[in-house]
Symmetry: C2
Subunit: 225 residues, 2 copies
DNA sequence: CGCGCTTTTGAGATAACTCAATACAGGTGG
DNA sequence: CCACCTGTATTGAGTTATCTCAAAAGCGCG
């Protein structure tokens, strides 16, 4: 496992050191944008509670095809292991502050029971969240996917600014496409479509103003079969 | 919660009775084909370990659009709650025998630690499985989806019969379509395509012979972007 | 000012969908 | 026992949403 700690200007690899330091469950770690928290196949020594910033969880198919499994936003807990190993890759899209909880805090018994309970319920919640995502990928149109995505993002990281909600996208169009199972061009076109519908304003490509949440909700609703 | 116990010829609703009986973690329960183990929104008193038969986990969008989240096959554990509630609907596709584990056995501390451990790891595995499924839905073509599905099924419930593997499909084409995010006609056409490729033989619509596993694997591999 | 990167827009190709008809199978009743 | 009927599955034909390839636009940076 390669862990890159934030230390400007040059990120330094401190994986071994970190393990020796015996990081507690409560001290926050910092990662620079682009730094990896873990790779697929790494032994899962920690699960990570995002305090600030955004991380990206990806899986890479043998063929090289990327799929973004999830974005980790403040409050999220990422890196649940299977068989003691990470089965996704996780890197920081922005500078992030995380709390690394030892995996043993997730298993029963050891450590603070309150923390254990919190991590455990986060794992159950993760299952539910993934089911939502499954539904979205399988059944929604491009417009519905992008609208749903923007609604979820605005609820999580939107800053309500009088009449509009400002959402600073921490991820690229490519990331959004890989998350929603769309081509990047389709994502871009759909943003334009939502703009033409008057639902959003693209202040910059990364700064979105949600102007008409009703229109966004309407666009997000699948009409079913 | 409505629980229908198998009692031929008429299935009987015994939800209240069941709760009073205080079912233990180790006694198997039986359900007839079509019976519901739980509904979306039910308080999640139990998680279910499938001993034999197949169950179907579905979610219904507000609009009435169905999505099959997963099929529960022997060895699977289904019904992980979120916030104490079931967030899917679960019914039996065939007669099933399940072990109903009290939800408290999933939470730390109470009950047999060995059982707790098993249930807990099943929850973690579930996350990983869902990520695989996510990937499939987002990135694979119809042919790749159906081929992957058949491979997985044949590994789980296939009976190797000399030169071919026999797979009895417990679910309908509609179920497969709703699981893979395809139209039923596309599923059917893809089965035909795999037949024409010599990968499978459709003895009956529900009985599939895997004739050339290599061809099936080849068909299942996404070429990536 | 110009280069490189991301995003947007355009135009044509295509995989999967929809609608429609046919085939098949299992169960029921004459 | 066979004809019928109902539900499921298959096949066909045309439509469409999304993808792919290609070009233009916007933006940051040296």
């Amino acid at each position: 496992m390669y862990v890159t700690l934030l230390s400007e200007p040059t990120p330094v690899n401190f994986a071994a050191v970190k393990r020796l330091e015996d990081v507690t469950s409560t001290r926050p770690s910092r990662y620079a944008a682009g730094a990896h928290l873990f790779y697929e196949g790494d032994p899962a020594d920690y699960v990570y509670e995002i305090q600030s910033g955004t991380v990206r969880l990806t899986r890479v198919l043998e063929t090289g095809c990327r799929q973004v499994i999830a974005f980790g936003l403040p409050g999220d807990i990422v890196g649940f292991p299977d068989g003691g190993l990470h089965h996704t890759e996780c890197d920081a899209l922005t500078p992030v502050v995380v709390i690394a909880h030892r995996r043993t805090a997730l298993e029963a018994g050891e450590g603070d029971p309150k923390t254990h309970q919190r991590l455990f319920h986060a794992a159950l919640r993760e299952i539910s969240t993934m089911q939502d995502h499954l539904m979205m990928l399988a059944r929604k149109s491009a417009l519905e996917k992008v609208a749903s995505f923007l609604i979820a993002l605005s609820q999580r990281i939107g800053r309500c600014n009088g009449t509009v909600t400002v959402v600073d996208l921490p991820m690229s169009r490519t990331d959004i496409a890989d998350f929603l199972g769309l081509a990047i061009e389709t994502v871009s076109r759909t943003f334009s479509q939502l703009r033409q519908l008057g639902a959003i304003v693209l202040e910059t490509p990364q700064t979105i103003l949600v102007r008409d949440i009703g229109a966004l909700v309407k666009a997000s609703q699948a009409v079913g079969h």
